[in-house]
């Protein structure tokens, strides 16, 4: 597995630079919005990546609650952390795009609000992990992840009724998109997913090492007092 990691890193670097070239040079300029629209190649793939990561977090949390495996807990932790980063990218690029196109930085529209609430829930998830004492952290965090997932449909319906302004989903929403744009989009998404996987992976290794070190230290502190006597 250790050999796969540099390969993945190389693949990610190649994909990311290819995606950057595609997004900035190859993709045609939008008729209405001009070049500013190109931010969707970062905005939308980041959003999808964040949602994938949060979904993995939810599945890992359920697995943890059933099996109590430390592996599932670590996966839940790293996907939440990396997911929050991608979600932050979405929330930052969104207003930057909205300002020239809609004329406003922010609006309480369905997907914006949904993303923001998801971000808030996962930030509180990370806060909980940080503040709780080590032994019970995984259970608490997994329970909170399940609650967050239960909350999502309710948030969706409440905001859906509240108001909606976002462009309707381009894929599956009846809108039309240039096939080149769609391709560039997918390349970017693939690159972002690879990048996310790479970051998650190295964070996972770090977490595993850290836990091993903590275990060793705990063991040592149990042994040492006796040898000192």
């Amino acid at each position: 597995m250790k050999r796969v990691f540099p390969l993945l890193g190389g693949l990610t670097a190649v994909l990311l630079s290819y995606a950057l070239y595609q997004a900035l040079v190859v993709a045609p300029t939008d008729q209405l919005q001009g070049d500013v629209y190109r931010i969707i190649y970062y905005h939308v793939p980041s959003a999808w990546t964040a949602f994938v990561l949060f979904f993995v977090n939810f599945v890992a949390s359920i697995v943890y609650l059933i099996r109590r495996s430390a592996k599932a807990d670590m996966i839940a932790l790293v996907t939440a952390e990396v997911g929050v980063v991608f979600c932050t990218v979405v929330l930052v690029t969104g207003p930057i795009w909205a300002r020239p196109v809609w004329g406003i930085w922010w609006t309480w529209d369905l997907r914006l609000t949904l993303t923001l609430v998801m971000w808030l829930i996962y930030v509180s998830y990370l806060m909980l992990r940080r503040f709780s004492s080590s032994g019970q952290t995984p259970v608490m965090a997994a329970v909170l992840a399940v609650f967050g997932a239960l909350d999502m449909p309710l948030v969706y319906f409440s905001i859906w009724y509240f108001r909606t302004q976002h462009p309707s989903p381009v894929i599956g929403g009846g809108g039309s998109i240039d096939p080149v744009m769609l391709r560039v989009w997918m390349i970017n998404w693939a690159a972002f997913l690879c990048f996310a996987l790479m970051v998650c992976w190295s964070r996972y290794r770090l977490e595993r090492l850290q836990r091993e070190v903590e275990e060793m230290q705990a063991l040592e502190s149990m042994i040492e007092p006796r040898s000192a006597r």
Binding site: S124, M127, I159
Partner: protein
């Protein structure tokens, strides 16, 4: 089932008696909510027309903040003398304890709401233009939505450092749809412009989903080691 309700009733009556004698939670909540009402009132100084639009938000934000004061004290009392540990090793069902605590909080917050609502009416010169009776289901469902998750997250934040601040951090993000529903329903009833039905249905759905979730997972949280 009778064991569950028996234990829940015993715990609830114990909590109510403690609260009746000390009046810790209700006094701090009441004074806190009063401060919020006064501060909001003189910082916005709204006309009757304006206050009809914003009152829904103000009322529920005040109740939410005040409820956190009570929710934080829910479990703290059980930590003294290791009562909670005793409960963990006893054969009593965990959900009985949870339901008793949740109903207790529901009663405290309802009392708070009953006492504070006249003050809101006075300070903001409120008069509902829609069907007033609908405020009752909104208040009941909304209060339950706050306390059921609040009680649950208070039990979770017991295990954390700086637990007093942890509770709102966990509770508020999850409560966003419920809070939106309460605020919008209250505003709809006060202004009488639109129907509050959708929001009441949403509150019912929220209550059902999270009551089920809490009951399914409370035992896990109580016994987490």
């Amino acid at each position: 089932m009778s064991m569950l309700s028996g234990i829940a009733a015993a715990t609830l009556s114990k909590d109510l008696r403690l609260e009746w004698r000390s009046k810790d939670a209700i006094n701090s909540m009441l004074f806190f909510a009063l401060l919020v009402v006064v501060i909001f009132s003189f910082s916005f100084n709204p006309t009757a027309e304006e206050s009809r639009r914003i009152a829904g938000g103000l009322v529920w934000v005040a109740f939410l903040f005040a409820a956190v004061v009570a929710l934080n004290q829910t479990w703290a009392r059980e930590l003294r003398n290791q009562v909670l540990d005793a409960y963990r090793v006893s054969p009593a069902p965990a959900n009985a304890l949870f339901l008793a605590k949740a109903f207790g909080n529901f009663i405290f917050v309802s009392v708070l709401e009953a006492l504070m609502t006249p003050l809101f009416i006075v300070f903001y010169s409120l008069r509902a233009l829609g069907p007033v009776w609908q405020l009752i289901p909104v208040a009941v469902l909304g209060t339950w939505a706050l306390v059921v998750n609040g009680t649950f997250f208070a039990a979770m934040s017991l295990r954390t450092r700086s637990r007093e601040i942890m509770l709102p951090l966990l509770l508020f993000p999850i409560s966003i749809p419920a809070l939106l529903a309460m605020v919008e329903a209250t505003s709809a009833i006060l202004t009488g412009e639109v129907s509050a039905k959708f929001w009441i249905v949403l509150l019912v759905a929220y209550d059902v989903v999270f009551t089920t979730g809490c009951l399914l997972l409370f035992e896990t949280v109580l016994h987490a080691e």
